[in-house]
Symmetry: C2
DNA sequence: CTGGTACATTGACAATCGTCAAGAAATTTA
DNA sequence: TAAATTTCTTGACGATTGTCAATGTACCAG
């Protein structure tokens, strides 16, 4: 359903029929199984994604260990910005956390959108501004709080979303061993 | 010297005389003493900054403790994005780390720039893209490495810049106590 | 130049976390 | 549905870190 993407964009501006038609004709929707790798280390990102349904995990590999940097859910854009914008080898992995439905904006389509419709230059900026706020928030949480407080904060602000994330991946995101998250949970829920 | 800002923008595009004149007339340059607070918690950010000379620290206060999130140096933009774009109360502090010279782009000027010159919509997007890459890198470092490795990496990639940062602030950025950074240094340099 | 203040180092000790290992629970898939 | 695999929990122990306190050093202001 491309309408989810259009609706999301129309929060910031109004799209005319030409623009909507272009999106419908050039932005394919695809379904992926749980655990599908959208992007692997060393690859060049050929697209960025808008999540219509499902979720995505962004992670790095350090040796054999997977270190999760962030989770994305419905109505979010997902991208390995460096690999996508510079068309360079990715250091990141993008993987579906659940069976997911996504709008796929290829590098060429993104480029053409910006060329054809100045409005998308504006949209891209606004969306990136919002992304930056999200990123500053992530960093803020890393810097100002320990693992336990960050977990409590996540429970309070994103209770439903957290239930869709396996605990060991959440532990990785919080920067602690899975055993430690288990003990944090025990402490919290025994109160 | 506004030319530093113009030069930085002209990496991505070419500015015509009208645009340059607008910048010269509307973007004031100010000098600040070391330790000057550009923005405090609770305030609404009225401007973003381009560092011509000097450095800035972005930090949060947790109780009486200051937690440093990032350092910015010459030829970088600095902004509390959330407070600036939403014109909302800031959770962040911005402070000059050294005596600094900065270009000040007020909220009104930024708005006008985007209205008057479509080129600045493009520039804003490109700059945001770069910022996003920087932020994904920061998060990547937090997630994939411990304090010691991050310190070593900083030494390798930003040796000169690091020397301008007091160690206890660097410790705060690395997420360890000042004593621990001191011991990390002892370990590294005894090799 | 000098005294004072802030900053950095070092040691000791307690608290916390990671690791290893074992068993329980949940989820996947044949 | 049952077996197999993955995930989660729990305990024990060693390693690392934070805290407190003392000392040494660097920097700034008068």
């Amino acid at each position: 359903m491309i309408s989810a993407l259009i609706k999301h964009l129309e929060v910031h501006t109004t799209l005319n029929e030409e623009e909507k038609t272009y999106l419908k004709n050039n932005v394919p929707i695809e379904r992926f199984k749980k655990g599908h790798l959208l992007l692997s280390e060393g690859e060049i990102s050929k697209a960025f994604y808008f999540i219509i349904k499902g979720s995505v995990r962004l992670f790095y590999k350090v040796g054999i260990e997977e270190k999760t940097a962030y989770f994305y859910f419905e109505d979010s854009f997902v991208s390995a910005y460096e690999s996508f914008t510079k068309q360079s080898a990715s250091k990141q992995y993008l993987e579906t956390l659940e069976a997911s439905e996504m709008a796929i904006i290829s590098f060429e389509t993104a480029y053409e959108l910006l060329q054809l419709f100045p409005k998308f230059e504006f949209l891209a900026r606004v969306i990136m501004e919002q992304e930056l706020i999200v990123y500053q928030d992530i960093i803020s949480a890393f810097v100002t709080q320990n693992a336990e407080k960050r977990y409590v904060q996540l429970l309070e602000t994103n209770h439903r979303l957290i239930q869709r994330i396996p605990q060991h991946q959440l532990a990785s995101f919080l920067g602690v061993a899975p055993e430690t998250l288990s003990r944090i949970r025990k402490r919290i829920f025994s109160k």
